[in-house]
Amino acid sequence: MDILEEIQKNLIGGKYAQVAELTRSALDAGLLPDTIIHEGYLRGMEAVGQRFKAQEIWVPEVLMAAKAMNMGMEILAPLIKGQPKENRGKVVIGTVKGDVHDIGKNLVKIMLNGTGFTVVDIGVDASPQKFVNAAIGEEPDIIGMSALLSTSIPRIGDTVKALRQAGIKKPYKTIIGGAAVSQQVANDFGADAYAFDAAIAVEKVKELMGKLREGK
């Protein structure tokens, strides 16, 4: 098995120490950081996403895979510093004001990172203003709002409204997720998409990116 396949396998298995070691070996063998990231980590995370979607693995396994990828990225980060970052799109994500649940949001972040998106996480209990500031500062393609508590539902509306009123120039799409929300909530508050879980979130984000490219 070649070293990239070994990295994939160990990443999927959450074996972070092995991923770190294999990353160093790969560099010693002359592989480029970009290759290791794309053919090693991202391939591995793609498999993780698919298995999670198929309910073959669950949240602990996804978190361990993310830990493995992060350890590898720590080693590679200084080597790719300064290089233009190729990415599939930029996503700002946060849990709305009054809500501090973040496992779902963090899973979405992991999966999107693992698919090659750049994710800016504005954290939990994020006010509409915080979302607006991030939208203006980061110029994302997608803005994601997470809400577990039913009392957070009106905040989704507040945030979508605040974003609209902020007159952001760069076209963006909004997506919502979390136990409290549903397609109904997305329709009622004018969010562009709703995702039931992190696996579906990745698919929806890809769809939304497609729409943005087509100017829809």
Binding site: I57, V59, E61, G98
Partner: protein, 369 residues
């Protein structure tokens, strides 16, 4: 004259051809569900909890921290229903942090919404040495629930069955550690997990005994195992739940399990614990739940509390109640309820519509209405 026409006449005490004094009591209805015999009507109740406080303009922080106020909210709620539409069960519930808070987790109370989690009780594994099993009569907000249960039992306990929510041990561990860290503990630190589960289970055991003494049945809410594999559930949650159920039985405490979230892969695993009933949320098909575990447990649920109860019309509520009854009520062993707590803002007319629909479609014998 049909049942619904009769219901429309407030003064008319006849329901389903029976004089109201001849109707079964809520406890008799629930007993029938467990005996698998047919009562007069499928036992039914919507879960309305913190919503009861905000419906009467009570700040949530008062409801969450004062047993008398909390009891007042439930009694007002119960009194508000027309006599023939009263729910069979009241579910007493503040929030999911009562046990963890008593064990040392920090939370932030809020005026207009449930508290939020703030700091873990167990930041580093060695913090576990500091944990003490809470005394339900004294620690944190356990006394609030107990006082509420006592008052409600005293005032209306003869008329209605009282259940009190307590958090399951696996979920308590998540609140003690921080959920994400606990997920990683499952992989990296099994001894810590087992120690935390022992402590959480013991805390819950004692709380359940105190609830029974105060007049409330333990309704164990255990959402966290829905995000782990069946393998992890079997290893880290099931043995403790099974043990808890058995110990409680000896003390006369019957365990009801409520599982929010994707309970599909652990449904049989939950039924194996020996609990009396499993309440599922709207992610599961209630007919399928009955087919799969209806021989072992009474199945409870599962009208959508948000899209249907909070934001829906009475027509939508009626349709979903009818759907649930058609799927699960045949052969008894079923209690109609909502998939989870109806959130703050759920209109009272929706809660009454739920009970009206229960009468319209849920009188035994069911005749394919």
């Amino acid at each position: 004259m049909g049942v619904l026409d009769r219901l429309a006449l407030e003064k008319d005490p006849f329901i389903g051809g029976k004089n109201m004094t001849q109707l079964m009591t809520p406890k008799e209805r629930i007993r029938a569900a467990f005996d698998r015999s047919e009562s007069d009507r499928v036992p039914a109740y919507p879960m309305s909890c913190t919503n009861n406080a905000t419906m009467m303009g009570m700040p949530v922080v008062e409801y969450s921290t004062d047993g008398e106020k909390m009891a007042q909210a439930y009694i007002e709620y119960y009194k508000r229903f027309k006599p023939h539409l009263k729910p069979d069960v009241l579910i007493l519930f503040q929030d999911t942090f009562v046990e963890a808070e008593a064990l040392g987790t920090k939370i932030k109370l809020r005026d207009d919404a449930e508290p939020v989690w703030s700091e873990p009780a167990i930041d580093s594994p060695k913090d576990i040495e500091k944990l003490k099993i809470p005394d339900p009569a004294r620690d944190a907000r356990m006394p609030v629930m107990l006082e509420c249960a006592s008052i409600v039992q005293r005032e209306i306990g003869k008329e209605v069955k009282i259940g009190a929510v307590c958090l399951g041990p696996f979920s308590i561990c998540g609140a003690l550690r921080g959920e994400e860290r606990f997920m990683i503990d499952l992989v990296e630190n099994p001894p810590l997990v087992h120690r935390l589960m022992e402590i959480s289970t013991e805390a819950l055991y004692r709380y359940g005994l105190a609830l029974k003494k105060a007049g409330a049945s333990a309704s164990v809410s255990e959402p966290l195992p829905t995000i782990v594999s069946l393998e992890y559930y079997d290893k880290y949650d099931y043995p403790y739940l099974k043990d808890l159920v058995a110990r409680w039985e000896k003390a006369g405490v019957h365990c009801f399990l409520h599982v929010c979230g994707q309970s599909d892969h652990i449904l049989e695993g939950l039924a194996r614990t020996g609990c009396w009933a499993i309440s599922v949320d709207e992610n599961m098909d209630i007919g399928e739940a009955k087919r799969r575990v209806g021989d072992k447990v009474v199945v409870v649920g599962n009208v959508d509390p948000i899209d249907t109860m909070r934001y829906g019309t009475p027509e939508r509520i009626e349709a979903e109640v009818r759907d649930c009854i058609r799927k699960a009520a045949s052969g008894s062993g079923y209690i109609l309820s909502t998939g989870c707590e109806c959130p703050i803002g759920t209109p009272f007319e929706n809660l009454e519509a739920f009970m009206e629909a229960a009468w319209k479609y849920g009188t035994y014998p069911l005749d394919g209405r």
